[in-house]
């Protein structure tokens, strides 16, 4: 083992990315459109929905963020970032023309190949819409490869619904393309649309329980009740996927912060996940 193991490449090297646009999504979420400065990287770089990047701000730190754009769009990518901590606080003050350091993509991502030729039910709560947007846009960009699609987007209040306007604007094309977009809020008395948690709208999905993959992303405590409703509605537990969040310093299975699970199934969320199947989740304590 101790002979000639040194790689040339430094896996922690950062690609310099320029912010092209910043969109205010909610009072605490911003969407950043980014481009790689190096044209070779811009040409080559791609990812799978569900993967994440390490975003680095010199002097401040480095954090894991899910990519939320479609991988079909080359040279650019988008990150939706909630202002929640030290690094995101600084990122929220950044403007077009500023730079971020990016490395990745990391993680397993969603098995998009397996999803092909099936219906797709996407269930998001809060910031969970971020990785699911990537799945959704990927499916839109490859519309002919997928069956019916339903997106259930939920938040506490209407103004906190991520990508609300974008999803509303897709209403016409959605109808033409057999896509069902359901947006629901849990605490907003002013909201004119659907109310209640995401899982309560599963019966309105246009997806066939016998032939659909289900992707869930939201706060960990939401998962069990979503699973219950989805399985009750007839969906196959084997076809349910979730994506998880953890503290991460490296993204490459070393720093140990994202280690989760139990002594029989110990996983680095960054490389073994962040996407896990239903049976991994229910047979492993501490994953959610």
């Amino acid at each position: 083992m101790s002979n000639e193991t040194t790689p040339d490449k430094n896996i922690y090297d950062l690609y310099k990315c320029r912010i092209l646009r910043v969109y205010e999504m909610t009072d605490e979420d911003k969407l950043f459109l980014l481009r790689f400065e190096d044209s070779d990287i811009a040409e080559e770089w791609t990812f799978t929905p569900g993967q994440f990047v390490q975003v680095s701000i010199p002097g401040v730190g480095e954090i894991p963020i899910s990519v939320c754009s479609s991988p079909m769009r080359r040279g650019f990518f988008e990150l939706c970032i909630k202002r929640a901590g030290k690094v995101t606080e600084v990122i929220h003050r950044m403007e077009p023309g500023d730079y971020m350091g990016i490395r990745g993509p990391y993680g397993n991502g969603f098995p998009m190949d397996r999803f092909e030729n099936h219906d797709l039910l996407l269930i998001a709560a809060g910031i969970g819409m971020v990785p699911l947007r990537s799945v959704f846009l990927h499916a839109m960009d490859n519309r002919w490869k997928f069956g019916n699609i339903t997106v259930i987007n939920s938040a506490r209040y209407g103004h906190k619904l991520l990508f609300r306007k974008e999803l509303e604007a897709m209403r016409d094309i959605a109808e033409a393309e057999n896509i069902n977009i359901l947006q629901t809020v849990t605490r907003d008395p002013e909201w004119p649309g659907r109310t209640g948690r995401a899982q309560h709208h599963v019966e309105d999905a246009n997806t066939d329980p016998d032939d659909a993959y289900v992707v869930v992303c939201g706060p960990p405590q939401a998962y069990r009740s979503v699973f219950e409703k989805v399985i009750e509605a007839g969906y196959d537990p084997r076809n349910i996927y979730v994506t998880l969040e953890r503290r991460m310093k490296c993204g490459v299975g070393k720093c140990g912060h994202c280690i989760a699970g139990s002594s029989t199934f110990l996983e680095y969320i960054c490389i073994d996940g962040p996407v896990f199947g239903y049976y991994d989740i229910i047979s492993t304590p501490n994953l959610i």
Binding site: M1, Y12, P58, V252, I259
Partner: protein, 345 residues
């Protein structure tokens, strides 16, 4: 495998010769009770009869603090910091320490190989040394009491010298370049080697294997032990710092005095610290001391696929260096049911 013998009269010459291959580090006695790895200037300082060191050998491959990059905030540029790593010889590692390094290899040189670690691994020559267990050792239960690979040379104690196993090309080179140091192994030496191994085997407190422990651990989540033992824990992280395979690190950007430049450093972290599982927004995946306490037991007993062993190598350091006298092995034995009667009384 290639075997040779080093006679007692040539041991110091051997150590002198080793230092020709790089800076020599070995365990030395640093106080009445403690030993630690030190740079060796006088080979008489090398301790052959030590049981454990205060810091594990991992520090030579993962420094406690490591500068990874320097940065410039104005240009948003990072420049990689690559230290000038010179060849070094690490003498006197016991079998558990060598397996520990192989576990680190599996992590640091996985599909994303870490350059900082790899450079140090390439520069290091590993010379193993046989040992006898004390009451804290349980490497036999972990099946890490004897190593097949991961060393360049391994010395097994004989009454009048050492039987040497040559474990790598680097090891062959050292042997070939110093033919006068070694003699052929005799039948008598082989007999002594076997006797030593038998004696060593009998000295372990427990016999058997821990392979089924991870399932028992998973099935024993509600044991009163977790509350009682975690209450004793001070959360100091000594157990992880002295562990040969604990490898968690944190990263921080430290600004220079000019406010524009700075360095990104990584340093040893511990899952016993509160911030280890904390994410932005305030959610902590290991909120309580009990969560963090259990996490270490879970992690150490988990299966490490590349080696087919657990992450724990059974060195006993975490118990030996625990200021709260928490006995890792004893707790595992309780979980396994060997010492269950203590709780049933």
């Amino acid at each position: 495998m290639r075997y040779l013998k080093l006679e007692n009269s040539r041991v110091n010459d051997f150590l002198e010769q080793l230092s020709a291959y790089g800076e020599l580090y070995a365990p030395v006695q640093i106080s009445e009770e403690f030993y630690d790895y030190r740079r060796i200037d006088d080979v008489d300082d090398v301790a052959f009869d030590y049981t454990r060191t205060v810091t594990p050998a991992k520090k030579y491959f993962i420094p406690t603090e490591q500068q990874m990059f320097t940065y410039d905030m104005e240009s948003s540029e990072y420049e990689e910091t690559l230290d000038d790593i010179r060849p070094f010889v690490l003498f006197g590692l016991h079998a558990c320490s060598i397996v520990g390094l192989r576990i680190l290899d599996g992590v640091y040189l996985n599909e994303y190989p870490d350059k900082y670690y790899g450079m140090r691994r390439d520069a290091g020559i590993i010379v193993g040394l046989s040992c006898l267990p004390d009451e804290y050792c349980f490497c036999n239960l972990r099946r890490t009491d004897f190593v097949d690979v991961g060393f360049d040379l391994f010395l097994h104690e004989l009454p009048d010298g050492y039987l040497i196993r040559v474990g790598s090309e680097k090891g062959h080179k050292i042997v070939d370049e110093n033919p006068g140091l070694f003699v052929e192994v005799t039948d008598e030496d082989i007999k002594h080697f076997k006797q030593f191994e038998r004696k060593r085997h009998e000295l372990f407190q427990y016999q058997g294997s821990f392979d089924n422990l991870r399932y028992m651990l998973e099935l024993t989540k509600d044991h009163p032990l977790w509350d009682e033992e975690s209450k004793k824990c001070l959360g100091c992280g000594n157990c992880t710092m002295t562990c040969p395979t604990c490898r968690c690190y944190d990263v921080q950007d430290i600004p220079d005095i000019d406010g524009r430049h700075g360095s990104r450093i990584r340093f040893w972290d511990s899952c016993q610290f509160r911030g280890h599982g904390l994410v932005a927004g305030g959610h902590n995946f290991r909120e309580t001391k009990k969560d963090r306490f259990i996490n270490r037991y879970v992690c150490k007993n988990a299966y490490f696929h590349p080696l087919g062993t657990s992450y724990c190598v059974g060195c006993g350091n975490c118990t030996y260096f625990c200021p709260a006298d928490i006995d890792f092995l004893d707790n595992l034995m309780k979980i396994r049911g060997i010492a269950e009667e203590i709780y049933e009384q």
